[in-house]
């Protein structure tokens, strides 16, 4: 392991947040190329299954995390209950904020067809979304946080899957439309 890799490992160990490459360059006083090389070495050393700690690229930087294999033991030691999974309402609200951010609560409500206050509040409490200014009409706007990217293993928002992946298929759409139209026609025929 090179000296630079060791230093970077130490920095990632100490830093409570993911560290961007630019900050590593500044702190280590090495070149960007050297840092990139050192990270590659580290990535190999800390690949999944090699040690207890793995290298993760999240939230615009690099961070160390414990290997999922040790999750059970870690929760026993730290007496930390497993974070509850997202409810359907929370997941939908989070998806809308993630893809449309910054987005206001009324906009979330419009898409979900239901007032989403409690989901928004819970997500904010869990630190997954946060306020980011106001819309022109004064509604609070929400965006996702760095913690969101960390907890979802995203190196950045551009790593979110392409939203077109979630478009209903043309077949689905045709079928829905036909079904609706059929019902509509039936209604206009006495």
């Amino acid at each position: 392991m090179s000296d630079l890799s060791r230093t970077i490992e130490a920095l990632l160990f100490l830093s409570p947040q993911p560290v961007a490459v630019a900050d590593l360059v500044e702190a280590t006083e090495a070149t960007e190329g050297q840092v990139a090389e050192a990270i590659d070495l580290l990535r190999e050393d800390l690949a999944e299954g090699r040690r207890g700690v793995v290298l993760r690229e999240v939230a615009g930087g690099f961070s160390l995390a414990s290997d999922p294999a040790s999750e059970g033991a870690a929760r026993r030691l730290l007496a930390k209950p497993r974070t509850p999974p997202l409810t359907q309402a929370q997941a939908e609200t989070l998806a809308i904020v993630a893809y449309l951010q910054p987005v206001s609560r009324p906009e979330v409500a419009r898409i979900r067809g239901v007032s989403s206050e409690s989901a928004v509040q819970t997500l904010a409490e869990r630190g997954l979304i946060e306020e980011s200014g106001r819309s022109q009409f004064g509604a609070a706007l929400f965006k996702t946080t760095e913690l969101f990217e960390r907890l979802f293993g995203l190196s950045g928002l551009d790593q979110l899957p392409d939203p077109s992946r979630f478009d209903p298929t043309p077949d689905d759409e045709r079928e829905l439309r036909e079904r609706l139209l059929k019902a509509g026609e039936q209604r206009s025929e006495p």
């Binding site: 409570p16 998806a95 067809g113 209903p168 509509g184």
Partner: protein, 244 residues
């Protein structure tokens, strides 16, 4: 199946679709709180499971849900464009379709996110204070960056006692079955009862569901009922022929 029997399990309401419409119109449940997309999805899933379309039922459903949607969109968008009010059936279909598609898209995105969350949940991050030597450095380098008034204001907000939360709309779990039983019990050993006398003390929603139950008993031929004038007393009579 009649559209009335479409069973719903929503956050704020559980019961048949018809009752939902009834309580909405009586303003027992806030329309803003009802996930209409879920109602539609439940219905479409029911249709998919069934594999055939009963046009009459579908039409009835569509008319009702379209009305609710329109009502709700007006509530959500106060003073929105007047075109909304002039919406014809075809436009309503397109509007409904667009909404359903958009909702489906985010529902799918939500599922993908939830899956991703699940996969990343095993990775735990370290959360520890800096070692003392480094903490010292951070303090030395720190300059004022925040306004102390922000803290005072935040504390002041917390001192405000919020108005009691109106939970009157979260009670629609009045069960039809239980109201059926209440009616039958009230009629046991008697030939007739007065609705107000018997149920006048109940809250509005319970009364509404009881009335719904009454209709059900009437349909089954267990009771007859009579109201000689609007808003007058309702007399409920046990059908002698019914075995009970």
């Amino acid at each position: 199946m009649a559209v009335a029997d479409l069973d719903l399990e929503l956050d704020v309401f559980a019961g048949p679709f018809d009752l939902l419409v009834a309580v909405l119109l009586r303003e027992e449940v806030d329309l803003l709180e009802v996930e209409l997309a879920e109602v539609v999805v439940a219905y479409i899933e029911y249709l998919e499971g069934k594999g055939e379309l009963e046009l009459e039922v579908a039409t009835e459903f569509l008319v009702l849900i379209a009305a609710l949607l329109e009502l709700k969109s007006r509530l959500l968008l106060p003073g929105a464009d007047p075109e909304l009010e002039e919406m014809g059936p075809e436009e309503a279909v397109e509007e409904l379709l667009a909404r359903l598609l958009e909702y489906r898209r985010f529902r799918a995105a939500a599922a993908a996110l939830a899956e991703r969350f699940e996969a990343a949940r095993g990775y735990l991050y370290r959360s520890a204070p800096l070692p003392p030597s480094l903490r010292r450095v951070a303090v030395d380098a720190a300059t004022a960056a925040y306004d102390p008034d922000r803290l005072g204001a935040a504390l002041g907000d917390l001192l405000v006692v919020p108005p009691p939360v109106d939970t009157s709309h979260i009670r629609p779990t009045v069960s039809l079955e239980r109201r059926l039983r209440a009616l039958r019990d009230a009629l046991a050993g008697r030939t007739s009862i007065d609705f107000d006398e018997q149920f006048g003390g109940e809250d509005r929603l319970t009364q509404a569901v009881t009335l719904f139950a009454l209709l059900e008993l009437y349909r089954k031929g267990e009771v007859t009922w009579k109201q000689s004038e609007p808003l007058g007393p309702i007399e409920i009579r046990r059908q002698e022929s019914s075995a009970r």
